[in-house]
């Protein structure tokens, strides 16, 4: 009997509409498996930052979709992304989360590999009739590329370059984030807040650039800062001048630049209050010029999703790690700035922790909502989640980005458009 291969070319019209998404996209294990193939095996996926592996031999473990990988720097100072799986019988060759090593050895049968991935040795090799050592190095995603130290890997041999994939508006935001340093460099060497929840990874993606929820989900944070009555902030109200933007390719931004413009001088003045603040400001002006210094201080970093798994937000670089359709880990690494007084970095850490650390005032209220959504999704009475907010008033801006008011769902719609396009392409 002829076996009929199931074709996997599917339309996702029944799951993603321009203004609504079916609940199955968060709960169906089959869709999760397809995402691993069509999104995480094809897109440029964020792996880590070069500052995490400054010296030859430095490594850290990461994931490409659900595949374990090693990000490391080889003897020639080249950044490598290696699949963490022995070519012999598949055991991990690197167990610690990070460290410095001469190479990677599989503890199961002793096969060992260079930092560049080549197979360096096989115990008792005479027992193999033909062992092509040259073809048995650790696997590597076919393409690895970085922008300002952010390392991405793609399992697709061909396709858009990283810079084409990110696009100018997205790279401009990464520039704003890095240029808070007079040297234009960030350093991810300050530890990582690790969080986990029982729910789909896309709940965190949607939420990271959701300008509608802060005044509700996070009212206790604002009340804690300001006391009773301070439960809402005008930055996130329905009349705020803050914006949200679709930057292209599913990358999205909460854009505070217009809102912050009126606060820029207050920020610069706050820096004048201390000797280290004055030094930071002077160094920033000396390095970037007065206008650029004002621009980066006014922006105060960025608040951006880079599809599918990176968020650059406030002081932090966040990685979203899908584990299963109903399990997600989120890694939040506060970024230190190179070439600034220590006090600036300490201040960044404390500001970050106030909201984003596991005992901080914000992140777990978000995760609480992901739990409530996940439980609510068990009810399929009306399976659609609504994303039409502000659709009638979104506009294309001069730079080709699509813009709306900060509480509009421009960003989620853009994310879902990209998701659908990728899932429909075989």
């Amino acid at each position: 009997m002829m076996r009929i291969e199931a074709t996997t070319l599917t339309s996702y019209d029944h799951l993603v509409r321009p203004d609504a998404v079916h609940g199955d996209v968060y709960t169906d294990p089959g869709i999760f498996r397809e995402e691993l193939g069509r999104i995480f095996s094809r897109c440029w996926v964020y792996i880590g930052h070069e500052s995490e592996i400054p010296r030859p031999g430095d490594f850290k473990r990461s994931t490409l979709g659900t595949r374990p990988v090693i990000l490391c720097r080889d003897r020639d100072h080249r950044v490598q992304v290696l699949f963490n799986r022995c070519r012999h019988r598949a055991a991990l060759v690197c167990l610690p989360d990070s460290g410095n090593a001469e190479g990677f050895r599989c503890d199961y049968h002793g096969w060992h590999y260079r930092l560049s991935g080549e197979l360096a040795g096989v115990p008792y090799a005479e027992a193999y009739e033909h062992l092509d050592m040259g073809s048995l190095g650790l696997g590597k995603p076919p393409r690895v590329s970085s922008y300002r130290g952010f390392v991405f890997a793609s399992c697709a041999a061909d396709g858009a370059s990283l810079e084409e994939e990110l696009g100018h508006p997205c790279m401009e935001q990464i520039d704003l984030f890095c240029d808070l340093s007079p040297e234009g460099r960030i350093r991810l060497q300050a530890g990582v807040s690790k969080l986990a929840y029982d729910g789909n990874w896309k709940l965190q993606m949607e939420n990271s650039i959701d300008g509608y929820h802060p005044n509700f989900t996070h009212q206790s944070f604002f009340a804690g800062m300001r006391g009773p009555g301070g439960a809402r902030v005008d930055m996130f109200d329905g009349n705020s001048t803050a914006l949200c933007r679709a930057l292209g390719n599913g990358h999205t931004l909460l854009d505070y630049r217009r809102y912050n413009a009126s606060h820029a001088h207050a920020r610069i003045e706050a820096l004048q209050a201390s000797s280290w603040g004055r030094r930071y400001y002077q160094d920033l002006v000396a390095a970037h010029g007065e206008q650029r210094a004002e621009t980066v201080l006014s922006a105060g970093g960025t608040h951006m999703n880079v599809f599918p798994n990176l968020v650059v937000l406030g002081q932090q670089v966040r990685t979203i790690r899908p584990i299963r359709h109903d399990r997600t880990e989120v890694l939040l690494a506060p970024a230190l700035l190179e070439g600034v007084p220590d006090e600036i970095n300490t201040q960044r850490l404390r500001a970050y922790e106030a909201f984003y650390s596991p005992q901080g005032g914000g992140i777990h209220d978000d995760i609480e909502m992901f739990s409530r959504v996940t439980e609510g999704l068990r009810c399929d009475y009306d399976p659609w989640l609504l994303f039409q907010r502000g659709r009638h008033r979104e506009q294309e801006d001069e730079d080709g980005t699509i813009v709306g008011q900060v509480t509009d769902e421009v960003s989620q719609r853009a994310m879902w458009r990209r998701w659908k396009a990728l899932m429909e392409t075989s």
Binding site: A196, G224, L349, E353, Q359, M369
Partner: protein
Amino acid sequence: MSDLQHRVEQFLYREASLMDENRYEDWLALFTEDCRYWIPSNREGADPTREVSILYGDHAMLETHVRRLASGNAFAQSPPSRMRRIVANVVADADDAGEIEATANFVVVEIRLHAQRLHAGRSLYRLVEHDGGLAIRYKQINLVGIDEPQENITFLL
């Protein structure tokens, strides 16, 4: 049992009850105005000025923390966790200046929204005499899961 050991144990048991019962303001009242509170992240012995913490700060930070939790709208604690914790392995020593160094292990059984979780760690204290009793000048909590992905740990530790 020495008088010091007994006093410290009773104090830590009282603190444990206040945390278990989400009595935020009463718990905060155990700390001195010049206190430090620290839950390291990723590894013990990190430098909190250069590395991220799970929580680090002074009395003002704790006030903000407690005010938020008590607001009723801190949704990760609304409804709040139900908890009981065991505090044990208490070791206490007074130094020449009259400050008491104490360490204790803890295990918390916590239930929230029908899910039961276990949390454990070791707390390091510096206690001082205050109003005829003891007060916390320094508290550091080293979680066993210091480097693990944290589920909801927004209750008092």
